[in-house]
Symmetry: C2
Subunit: 431 residues, 2 copies
Amino acid sequence: MRTDGKRGRNTRGTSIAGCILCFLCLLCSSPSFAQGVLSDPKFKSAEQFVENDHDRFVREIIQLTEIEAPPFKEQKRGKAFAAMLKQYGLSDVTIDAEGNVIGVRKGTANGPLIAIAGHLDTVFPEGTNVKVRREGTRLYAPGVGDDTRALAVLLEIIRAMDAAKIQTPGDILFIGNVGEEGPGDLRGMKYLFEKGPYKDKIKMFISLDPFGAGNDVTNAGIGSKRFKVTFRGPGGHSFGSFGLVNPAYALGDAIVKLSKMQVPSRPRTTYNVGVVGGGTSVNSIPYEAWMDVDIRSEAREELTKAVDAFTRLMHESADEENRARSTSQGRIEVEVKLIGDRPFGQTAMNSPIVQTASAVIQGFGMNPTYGMSSTDSNIPMSLGIPAITLESGGNGGRNHTLDEWIDVEKGPSVRGIEIAMGILLSLSGIQ
Amino acid sequence: MRTDGKRGRNTRGTSIAGCILCFLCLLCSSPSFAQGVLSDPKFKSAEQFVENDHDRFVREIIQLTEIEAPPFKEQKRGKAFAAMLKQYGLSDVTIDAEGNVIGVRKGTANGPLIAIAGHLDTVFPEGTNVKVRREGTRLYAPGVGDDTRALAVLLEIIRAMDAAKIQTPGDILFIGNVGEEGPGDLRGMKYLFEKGPYKDKIKMFISLDPFGAGNDVTNAGIGSKRFKVTFRGPGGHSFGSFGLVNPAYALGDAIVKLSKMQVPSRPRTTYNVGVVGGGTSVNSIPYEAWMDVDIRSEAREELTKAVDAFTRLMHESADEENRARSTSQGRIEVEVKLIGDRPFGQTAMNSPIVQTASAVIQGFGMNPTYGMSSTDSNIPMSLGIPAITLESGGNGGRNHTLDEWIDVEKGPSVRGIEIAMGILLSLSGIQ
């Protein structure tokens, strides 16, 4: 567990209670405890339920996928998910001020509060066709695997625990959260861990995101910074003012410069131009042109270097356009505005949560792999709260594109659900 | 008058009537006839009215400017303008199937049908603040001078003719037309001259567009071609799929290549990137990125050369992006789609309409200048119908930008209205 300044402040007032919780947590979450849970008859019964219930699970993926959930517009899907949490018996189902849907499965004692979440939002704008097309065991639809499958996994785990009469010492929060993608900038998690009623209460966090076999554990959060770069100029008539500076030309040059920016492959460092826009009519020189840029790195210093280089390039492009054409009616100005900032974070390899996840994955006969990514877990990790991001099961591909698909072939699909359930229950303990 | 194939076909069946009309037209429209009109007491009386009525004229500019009229959404302004045409006594006020507002001022005999028009549409999208800000004699607002002032000039001419009891032998059409700007692609004129009820009936056409002293006569229509260039690719996750081809990078490269394209300054040839767009979220590689491009030239062969060079550059940019990054998930494809095509056209310098306009301008003590442009007159010109585009009077600047302004200082403003009225009545004759 990290003990950086922020986390220290958060727990200072509850140090004795914290120690007891940590001890209980360590006790429950040891790898050997994980083996015990996996062989528990109740867990076996829950697994059997998941297998028998798979058709309903697939129906619920489709049902939720077909409710569009663009960034900042997750309400409709959120309401449907809240209704399902209630239907499956969770208590205190709420939609918090940020839009996160949270249901509580009550524990029997004072075990640590664990939260498990999938994100409601997709990257796709309003009006995207989200109708699911099924071909054999494949489901095709924008958002079907990133991250709608995870929402259905949460519902399946709740039903299986109920069917197998599994009780846990502590409460478990089942969460469909907002704002994981793009401009959301992890707003759901920032609210949950930094402002909302569960602030300082969640002791462990699991994010399921996105599809995948189930053996990968993301235990480090890649930092990312996101920018809106806007070039502004005087505009003008396309014919009458030909020869004046054009912000679209500065933007084009900036895109080209960025596309040639050198970044290391280790530590993996990336950039992306994700959205471009600007201008009002074909026969006018635009008065502004802009792009949204995402820069990420596995290493803090590489991120800083890449951001510095990128910022320099943006100003160079504005300067070059001002040299290339007439500034008689005004110059090109550039604004580089930070629109997203995902903190770095890490959950130690030898922490109980990572060790337990590894043991469960091995218990399913698979080799765990470990990775860095930029997910909802970045926020708890950055606050020193043990957090991991797991795959939600099954195969899939092309997420963030209109061709996104998942395979719900029963074997791998069920195993993914069982691994997530196994890790959750090994962390919480079962009764 | 041009006698190319199309015009030949249109008039073949009415050649004798056509000859008589041409004769009448020539008779009325000679420069000496223009001098007679300008010194006619009724015309003097109309001029006096324009001078006295200037405050109302300015109020009507403001009133019409503050009704937004984006491309393809001119209806609201069109309805208001139609109501004003009715209010000032025109008959047969209609809004045709394309959206053009047309009112008829009936003639007393069978003189040639003359049309005078300003365009309803602006380049500005819905939601643009169109509130007029007045500073001294200057009015600031998007669209105030291009072309809203012209609409108010039409209303002023109608009122002045009525006040001075001026009758004309032929009918005059007063038109507020749609689709002059950008994507409108002259749809108002194309409908008026090629499809609507006045097809083949209008014998002379005057467009007022935009503001300006009033001594400039556009008697040649610059050809322009407009394109939507769309780069499409496989898309992907910004981090997970880093290294795949990105259509935004191809777009950036295409913009840079275009911005360096060599075009002659004589005959004036221009290009413009007017609108750019694409992508769905900052953390996704876009599956498409696009731009709208305007290419114009005073010379047909230069336009063809520029379009060919531009098209080649677009394909080069797609190819270069496919070489620069991985195409493992799919290649960048480019589509170059023609979205606008304004025909070339010319009204001969020695034609009665140009000669009459020149004489009237000289009658106001000014030196006429002659130009080429891309205006509503391109359509009648391309059909061989005598057409000119005149300035609507007054000073102004920065059209097609949010800083657009006109000066309604009384002297130059009134003179512009009087010149337009003088040219119209010299062409029609007065009784």
